[in-house]
């Protein structure tokens, strides 16, 4: 198991290989498709420092307000492929080092991971309680009023956040491999017939 601190240096990114299990510490920023669209269409400069070598998390948390503090009540990953139209550009523009999500992403993202040295971390879908317990602090929130709580950009401080590298910076994708392998089995099951 690898322990990594976010922001993640490009030197550390290239060491990661698909199949590695990682515990993440430090700052991660939630962003779903609406936030990605905003990052690309408006190119807000103030996000550049925040996202440089940073980690984006595909997540729309359930959040509670206790006094002046935000508490994350549930925070598992959302399906990553919805962010596919924007991700390659976001990695290039903001220098992001890591993306956390579920289900993997497509070829455009895979190429961008290779070209700009970044990595895709897979978190277990639906693991909202286990992952919420890894959030030690909510540092800030952006675009809360504009996007609403589930689609705002929450700046989270996490400890021992468990993920698996499923797409690395060397062009490997565990999702692609699994899709092809199971596709071959599907073809043989269909040819054989089963009823």
């Amino acid at each position: 198991m690898v322990i990594l601190n976010s922001p993640i240096s490009k030197k550390d990114v290239v060491k990661l290989k698909t199949g590695d299990t990682v515990h993440l510490n430090g700052i991660i920023v939630t962003a779903r498709d609406v936030a990605h669209k905003y990052l690309i269409e408006n190119r807000p400069k103030e996000y550049k420092r925040l996202l440089k070598n940073g980690v984006l998390y595909h997540c729309g948390p359930v959040v509670d307000r206790v006094g002046k503090k935000w508490i994350i009540a549930a925070a598992g990953p959302t399906t990553s492929i919805r962010q596919e139209p924007y991700t390659a550009e976001v990695i290039k523009e903001y220098g992001v080092s890591g993306i956390i999500g579920k289900g993997g992403m497509g070829d455009r993202t895979l190429n961008a991971l290779k070209k700009y040295k970044a990595v895709y971390f897979h978190a277990i879908g639906g693991l909202a309680q286990v992952l919420a317990e890894c959030v030690v602090d909510v540092k800030d929130v952006f675009m809360l009023k504009e996007f609403g709580s589930p689609e705002a950009m929450w700046i989270l401080d996490v400890r021992d956040f468990p993920v698996t590298v499923t797409m690395d910076s060397h062009g490997n994708s565990l999702h692609k491999t699994m899709y092809e392998r199971s596709g071959a089995i599907l073809n043989s099951l269909i040819t054989k017939g089963g009823l």
Partner: protein, 293 residues
């Protein structure tokens, strides 16, 4: 009708559904764990999922942050007003957002604005059906977005999967749907399938199949055999929990059929993720008669 009691019952239904997975689903996940190799990624993933289920139950918080589209199935006697029930459900949703059982999960599609604790056209979904019994029965399913997105429909014949209008064709469609869902719908999943109907009724019936208990047996032996065959083959695909590889790709398959007109032959598949949140109650004389599942 004592409105306060019914309102509280609806809030309690939402709490249970969002935070406490039914026992048939938990047992199916535990059974899956036994088939995976120790220390494999599939084994670890299922262990984490079971841990998550326990925490959600203990804390009364959503097991998945996507609390989904609430889909209600309401059977009611003639004396009960649909309008009253609808009002209670909408109120209960508002209260449940406040209590964190539900995420503020509704967006105006045209403006993109989140409506917070309100409800609107399409959210929640309520299926009403009058019946002859003199009590109310309500089942709630919280249908997550990731798995809803991978639901699919085939119009046979379908050359993409080489399927003609027979059960072998149906089988090919369903296995293809499982293959295509990988990564996007959180596996191990559960399939609700309908053969026949029109486009809308077919999808609707496929979702309704998910109200069946995982351990029940299909009343129709032909469909029962098809269910078993799909289970066996889908779990040979090697997709496994979350698509990391493994033996547990599906926890269950439920297939129903509707009549059709000769030009159409639909196969509709609703995919449910492992967070198969469904609960229900029967309500009589102003109080809960029994909780379901």
């Amino acid at each position: 009708m004592n409105s306060k009691n019914l309102l509280n019952t609806f809030v309690e239904l939402i709490r249970r559904t969002s935070s406490d997975l039914p026992v048939d689903v938990v047992s199916a996940i535990e059974k899956g764990l036994l088939t995976e190799k120790r220390d494999s990624i599939a084994h670890k993933t299922l262990q984490m999922i079971l841990k998550n289920i326990d925490i959600a139950r203990e804390k009364s918080l959503p097991m998945c942050q996507d609390t989904g589209t609430p889909v209600f199935y309401v059977n009611y006697p003639a004396k009960v007003s649909q309008i009253d029930i609808k009002k209670k459900i909408n109120q209960a949703i508002k209260e449940s957002v406040y209590k964190l059982y539900l995420r503020p999960n509704i967006v105006d599609t045209l403006t993109g604005k989140n409506l917070g604790d309100r409800t609107g056209p399409g959210y929640p979904v309520i299926n009403f059906e009058e019946w002859k019994k003199d009590y109310i029965k309500v089942i709630l399913m919280l249908k997550g977005g990731g798995c809803e997105n991978v639901g699919t429909q085939y119009a046979l014949p379908d050359s993409r999967v080489n399927a003609v209008r027979d059960l072998e064709g149906v089988r090919r469609c369903i296995l293809d749907a499982v293959h295509k869902a990988q990564g996007r719908g959180c596996s191990p999943g559960i399939l609700g399938v309908c053969i026949g109907g029109d486009r809308v009724s077919s999808y609707e019936e496929s979702k309704r199949q998910l109200l069946r208990s995982l351990d029940d047996r299909n009343k129709n032996p032909v469909l029962g055999k098809l269910e078993q065959s799909i289970m066996r083959d889908a779990n040979k695909l090697g997709i496994g929990p979350m698509g990391f590889g493994g033996r547990t790709t599906l926890l269950g398959v439920k297939i129903g059929s509707l009549c059709r007109i000769p030009p159409s032959y639909f196969v509709s598949v609703t995919y449910m993720c492992w967070a198969y949140r469904r609960r229900g109650f029967e309500y009589e004389n102003e109080k809960v008669k029994r909780w379901l599942y």
